[in-house]
Structure formats: C-alpha cells, structure tokens
Subunit: 306 residues, 2 copies
C-alpha cells in the first residue's frame, strides 16, 4: 500500500485551510471529504464576520473559494467517508468505504454539529440559530428566545440583549447551571425573562419563526411565546468518532490539542470545531487548519527516515 | 475622564479582526492605530494563502477590506500613537501623543517586525523576504539564500528546497543552532549548501535581487553568490514596549498569552504577531483578533459592576 505523507479528513473550513497550506507547501497530501455539504459554514446563508469580506459572504460561496484556492495549489480531494483510523507499525491507516489509505500524519477536521432539539420547525424555518455571535446582529429590535441554562446559553442571552428588545431564556430546570456572576447579570437584566421548568415542543412559522409552543414540565401546561428568533444552546456533538479510540478527547468528545493542534498521539493533529477550544468561528477554523498543516510539516520533517 | 469598555491598540490584521468582532457585538470600543502602514500584511504585495481568496489578495487591499468591514459595524478608529499603558485603580490608562484614554480592557495588537540585516538593498529590492511559508512558492526553480542558523532558518531552508533548485544557508558561525534532526537533514540535503562563518554585506540587483556580497568572518575574504531570493531569519522584534512592564513577556519580548489571548494581567489581551505563538500568518492573526474580542467581551461581562 502506498503511504502518503499527510491525510486530511474533512472538507470544511479547517480541512480546506490545512489543504491550502499543505498543498502550497508541496506536501504529499490528500484530503478526503464525505461529499454531502455537512460543514457548518457550508450551510450558513451569510457570514458577516469572516475578516476580509466587508459585505459578508455566503457559506457555500466561501467554501467554494477555499476549495478553488486549495486546488489551484494542487490539492487532491477525494469524496469518500472515513470510517476509522488505526495506527499500524507507526503508520496511520484510514478505512474508507471500500479501500484503505495509509499516511504518516493525519489532520482530523471533521467538525461538530449543534445538538438539536428535535422539534417541528427546527430544520425548516429561518430564524433558528445555534450561534448568537454569528446571527445575533440580525435580530435588532426583535423578540428572541434562547433554549438552555448553561454558560453558553446565558452568556449568549446577555449578548443578545444588545440587539433584541426582549430575550426569553427557556430552561427545563428551576435554576441556571451557568456561573454565578453571569447568572446574576441575566436575572437582573430587564430585557431578559427566564421561563423556568419549560421545554420547547414546536417552533411555529410559515418560512420564518414567529412563535414557540412550550410546555411547563412541572404542571404539564402548554402555552405559546411570540418570538422572531430562537437560539438553541443544548450542547454540541463533535464528529470525533473516527479517532476517538486513538487520541484523548474530553467529556463531550472534543479532541484535546495543544496550541499547535497536536493531539495526544504524535502525527495526529486536529483542527476546527472538532477540537476543544473556546470560540468556534470560520476564522478560528481557518487558522487551526493553517497551524495544523505547518505542525504536520514540522512533524514529518523531524521523522527519522525509514 | 470617560472610561471605554475596550481599547484596541493596532490597526493591522489582528487589531481590525478584533475590531470587527467587538463592533459587531456593539461593544463600547475604540481602535487606535499609528497611521503609518507599518503592519506586516499592509506591506505585502501578494498574499496567496489567506483562505477565501483563490487568486490571492494584495496586502493593502486586504487591510482596506477589513477596515471597511469593521467600520460598517461602527468601529471608531483613531490615528494616534499609544506611548504607554498603565493600570490605575483597576482601569487601564493609555497615554497618547497629547491625551489619555481610559479603558476597562485592552487588546494589544501591535505586531512584530523581522530583525533586519541592515545592509544595502534590503529595503529596496524585490526578492528579499522574511517568511518562506509566505513567499517560498514564488521561487520555483530559482537559487535562493537563507541567512541564519537557528530552527527557523534551517526549517525554512529545508522547506525552500521544494521550490528552489539550490538553497544556500549563510551562517555567521561554524555550527548550526537548530535542532539536531533538522540540522542533519539540512546537511544531507543535496540542494542545500551551507556557507559557514559568513555574513551578508550587501544585496545586489537593479529592482530584483540578483546576488549577494558576502564576507567570511574568519578570513575576511569578500565574495559573491548569485541568487534570486534572500530569506532573512535573524530574529524578530515584537512591538510590545507599551505594555512590557505590565504583562509577562518571554525572552524575546513576545507577550505570553493562553489560547484565549489572556495575558498575565486580567483585562489585557494580546493578539497577532506580538504574542508568543508558533505560526505568524494573516489567518492566525485574524483568528487571534476574533478570540481576543470575545474573551474581552466575556471579561467585561463578568466584571463586578461599579
């Protein structure tokens, strides 16, 4: 079996950025992407905060630009699914649908997906978001709701008060899990109303969100809340299965790396949303990819030949 | 004195990216830039590896786009020089040319500059570079030289052998300081020739580099080397003076941060080339800026009021 120097798994922002750097550096590199547009950026209508695009850029367009850039430097992209990665005799072997690829180093850039509520309207209506930093500015003067009670939910609810006229926090319990100082701010904020012991049963609207059907879990009572936007913060699921047994991951399954994207196994690097980090944005994923490619390059350079 | 929430020092990629994020998040933010185009990106002709620009982008153009993007979100930019930053009664006070600005948090994005050789031709000729990752691909089939003998110099010389037909390493001593495995690779590489005990006295060429005048420091003998490109790796100088007494810096003066861009002093963040990091690129600076802005946001949110 031919052994490549570098295998990049994932064709989202982090993977393509790694591909741009590796291919421009003439590495012996192959990128495998699963083909369906699963990447978070690729499914985003308008990205306003990726530096360099003053008027914003649509997600599929940005991904297309990065792909063109990588292919211009000669990156080979294979459409297939990586099912697992194993370590055999100091070489990594990736099992695809009906073949295997061997590589001396691997960059895992498989992304993460927000955990969904699994209610009607969630996948079809505009105005449902999983990222206030991304989409909050689109709700100037509107009423919105946040689902969740952890740090992310409460911090983002506070952030949303800069735009929205009213922010409901819908939380299934009767206390917030967020840090005390943040929770106190939310409780004291006149624009925030916390709806305790409550879950969302359905998101209503024609094309755009116009309200929520909610249920009080203590009393069973059903009611409605009128909002134009819903921000869901009930956790995220990293796509780290392919290397979960090889490298260290945290409680939520995110791959643990250092600042140079090195995982617990020399030769395996992780970049973008799949790794443990504090800010998941297009620009941080692009940066991770570049760093991972250069770290892989240095790793390969220092490998004892043979 | 009016107290702002956030002061960003520096109008390069990291500062503008922080400005985009902070202004879009409606922070009470002011960016101070010194006006002259000192930023590394702003003085780069063509940036080929910033993800999203398949045909490359000129440095001044990219900076202009980021500035427009930040101003679209309402960022205020002041042209002035920050001479120092002090901490007084839990508020940071920046001293400018003839006024002071007080702020609850500060992002230092003042960049770094490569240390120059200080020889004739260095500032005027095309083909002089301080970054092989940036410019190596432009020297396909050419003869080039690297000045320096540390890790960066030798790693970049090895990297350059992918493009250049011949790479001279010009080093003032008779041994390399770089790590053993890297040095060994360089010594064994047929495309690399190490010119020991030698310093560059002058860079020759009309508009583009075509040769070097070098001197052997042991014998004093002067000779010439024909090259089309010169990569200078004799260190870099971070512009960290304004906060050097406040925050921890490393031996070279780079500001030490964690992955969330927090320095040793709560409320002061550093982003981009001025901080200690392994890869200094436009995309990593942009990412740092975004992370610093969000970290500053969280810091301000958790500040006890009053």
């Amino acid at each position: 079996m031919e052994i490549r120097d570098l295998l990049i798994i994932g064709g989202g922002v982090a993977g393509l950025s790694a591909g741009i750097y590796a291919a421009r550096g003439k590495a012996d590199v192959l990128l495998v992407e699963k083909g369906s547009p699963g990447s978070q950026a690729a499914t985003t209508d308008s990205i306003e905060n990726y530096p360099g695009f003053p008027d914003g850029v649509d997600g599929p367009g940005l991904i297309e630009k990065m792909k063109r850039q990588a292919m211009r430097f000669g990156l080979r992209i294979l459409t297939d699914t990586v099912k697992s990665v194993d370590l055999r005799d100091r070489v990594f072997v990736a099992e695809l649908n009906d073949r295997c690829i061997a590589a001396r180093s691997v960059i895992v850039a498989t992304g993460a997906n927000p955990r969904k509520l699994g209610v009607k309207g969630e996948n079809t209506l505009a105005g449902v978001s999983y990222c206030a930093t991304c989409d909050g500015a689109l709700f100037e003067g509107a009423k919105v709701a946040v689902v969740g009670g952890g740090d992310a939910a409460v911090e983002e609810a506070l952030y949303l008060t800069r735009f929205a006229s009213k922010v409901y926090i819908i939380h299934r319990r009767d206390t917030l899990r967020a840090a005390a100082v943040i929770s106190k701010r939310a409780l004291e904020n006149g624009r925030i109303e916390i709806v305790w012991n409550t879950v969302v049963k359905e998101i209503e609207g024609k094309e755009v969100v116009d309200g929520l059907v909610v249920q009080n879990v203590a009393t069973g009572m059903i009611s409605k809340i009128a909002v134009e936007g819903l921000f869901i913060y009930v956790g995220t699921v990293p796509n780290s299965e392919v290397v979960k047994r090889l490298v260290n991951v945290n409680d939520q399954g995110y791959i643990i790396t250092d600042e140079d994207m090195r995982t617990s196994i020399p030769g395996i690097f992780a970049a973008g949303d799949v790794r443990r980090k504090s800010l998941r944005q297009v620009v941080t994923a692009a940066s991770d990819g570049a760093v991972a490619a250069v770290s892989a390059e240095k790793y390969l350079m220092a490998l004892t030949p043979g």
